[in-house]
């Protein structure tokens, strides 16, 4: 029982990441009708916002203190991180919590990148075929990943999580089991809660605001909304920016779990496309459900017992699920009728 629960929990954080990326992909697809192969790159760019933020605030200024001597007799060099020079004691706290704090940087940056991308290139591809959309965004993804590689180098850069969030939560204790039966790292728990919060926020935004209502109407029938005198194009552009922010935030918070490198986005892109297709193209709840479902399935498939039964299943489970679902239920789990079925 607790083994199953443990796998369920293990799947949640990865499922959260899949769900967030798939949510953004579906938003873009549902609003603009564009198949965005650069969405994984946006996830990666978000992760590198965290890296850049940390590198910025830990940049060191070296002051030489002649009154003190280092053990080998030279004047002592004191290295102070930039954050501490600016903010004093609070700077140390900032460095400690650099990953969650970089959300502040990531939101505007991702919004600008997203809107620039949409206005600059993707705008011209609404009327073109899906194949061409795939190709141009694929090219954009290569560019983004190579730019990051040129700036930050090819090696993964690990991001430490705050000390207070290291270690594991004793989830078993909360559920009335004995101590240390079921533990789960704090950060991954946080990631799950975070992704659930973002998903809830996006849904609430679409459901309860006027802006969201207009966007939903536009997703259903773009032309009629346009005829009503609403500039739906601009709202869709903002939605693209929003999708970029969602992907970016997913990336920021994921950095302590996997040290980001430049091809992180590509690794996630393939998977999240599979997630979108499994959930059903254009269905937001489908994307979220499929994201968590596949994350959990993957974690179950990597159990030792399962692997002993079906060797290699952990490597292919997601793709296998996708193939089966696409062949049996072409619209995906909750897909809309007629969505890209031509």
């Amino acid at each position: 029982m607790d083994a199953i629960l443990a796998q369920l929990l293990n799947g949640l954080d990865k499922g959260g990441a899949y769900a967030l990326i798939a949510l953004g992909l579906t938003l873009v697809f549902g609003t603009l009708g564009v198949v965005n192969f650069a969405h994984g790159a946006l996830f990666m760019l978000g992760a590198f916002c965290a890296v850049a933020f940390r590198q910025l605030i830990t940049m060191e200024t070296v002051t030489i203190d002649p009154s003190q001597l280092s053990p080998w007799g030279a004047p002592l060099e004191i290295k102070t991180p930039l954050a501490q020079t600016w903010f004093g004691e609070f700077g140390a706290v900032m460095i400690e919590y650099s990953v969650p704090l970089s959300i502040v940087l990531a939101i505007p940056v991702m919004l600008i990148i997203g809107i620039a991308m949409e206005r600059g290139i993707i705008k011209h591809f609404y009327k073109r075929s899906h194949a061409e959309q795939i190709l141009v965004t694929f090219g954009l993804a290569i560019v983004a990943q190579e730019v990051i590689k040129a700036i930050f180098g090819p090696n993964p850069i690990s991001q430490p999580m705050p000390t207070s969030l290291r270690g594991a939560a004793d989830v078993g204790l909360w559920l009335g089991m004995g101590p240390n039966v079921l533990t789960y790292p704090w950060w991954r728990l946080l990631y799950f809660v975070f992704s659930a919060a973002i998903i809830a926020a996006v849904f609430a935004f679409l459901r309860f605001t006027t802006f969201g209502m207009v966007v939903r109407a536009g997703m259903a029938d773009r032309e009629t909304v346009g005829l009503l005198g609403i500039n739906i194009g601009r709202r869709f552009t903002i939605m693209f920016g929003l999708a970029a922010v969602v992907a970016g935030l997913a990336g920021v918070m994921y950095t302590p779990l996997v040290p980001p490198n430049y091809h992180l986005g590509m690794d996630f892109l393939v998977l999240s496309f599979v997630v979108v297709v499994v959930g059903g193209m254009g269905s937001l709840p489908g994307a979220v459900a499929a994201g968590f479902l596949l994350g959990i399935l993957q974690s179950f498939a990597s159990m030792a017992q399962v692997k002993a039964m079906l060797p290699g299943i952990d490597q292919i489970i997601i793709y296998l699920t996708a193939v089966i679902i696409l062949l049996v239920r072409p619209r995906g789990l909750i897909g809309r009728r007629g969505m890209m079925e031509s």
Partner: protein
Amino acid sequence: MNALLTSRRDAITLAIFALVVLTMPVWLQPFGAAYPGLMQKFAIYAIFAIGFNILFGLTGYLSFGHAAFLGVGSYTAVWSFKLLTMDALPAIAFAIILSGLLAVVIGYLSLRRSGIYFSILTLAFAQMCYNLAYSVLTPITNGETSLQLNLQDPRIIDSALAPRPAGLPSASLFGHTFSGLQGFYFCAVMLLIAFFIAQKIFASPFGMMLRGIKSNQTRMNYTGFNTRPYALTAFVISGMYAGLAGALLAVTDPLAGAERMQWTASGEVVLMTILGGVGTLTGPVLGAWIIKYFENIFSAFNEQIVSRFFDFLPAGMHDVVVAVASKFVGEGWNLTLGLVFVLIVVFLPGGIMEGVRRITHMFDKSRRAPPTPARLSTQPAE
């Protein structure tokens, strides 16, 4: 009459193409690319791209999983070297057959969907092959260390015919071991055969049918054609081309690694085809050559070469320009590739061949006073 004309035009194209390919060692000299290793790649990836184009260019089905066939071809060829003989022909035959079989299975399943779903399905299958090659199938694929020849290999046919030579053998043809340019000429002949077959497919009623699928599948169905067998045939043919390319990779260098099956490799062949021109015969070949050429030349550049190149600039500007330019070469050559690719898709969706056509069209117009007839539109009238 018309058929005769097309075939004569095709024959001329083939003759010119053969001349260009076979004289590569001569005319590539000034470009610094006339060494066998690179020219073999030119020939092999041209085959890969031609095959991919038979599927994507004619039927419009965008496969993101063709690298799987390339990888299977390579593995099969290396196994044929290990178990049977170092002769290249059986290796190629086995590779084509096996990748063709795999293509039948993948194609049969994937072609039940179209559009983006087809792309995702092929991608999923290719990723499964790749992941399996790295994990469970390690006894067959040798995992991360790549499959290579071994001194203990049985090589049944070879050892029955002649005493085992000392050291690792290399690929041969009827007992004649490739050396120097011979490997390239072997690949070049294969490329010519592949080109010839593609030409025939393009000109055949079968090719016409595939074009019909691309422009309007529904209408094809209403006309009474069952399009799926045709699309599947195209898929299998292009898978076999990829298998041939994979086998040739193994012939020129008897080593097969799983990274050949990764989806970036599938992406590369898409890039080649788009860059050259989708749906044209020579376009994908050009695309493959250009990408492979610049990959080799650009990635060999380093900061010193760039710095020497920009020597004429004043000192301050020189540093800035070198710093920026060096990001685009060497390790960062993929950045250039990505940018060029985006520009091509945005401004020249037909690739290089469309560029050529536009330029010739321009000259035609200026030469001929009367207005030229409007180009035939490929879009169906709705």
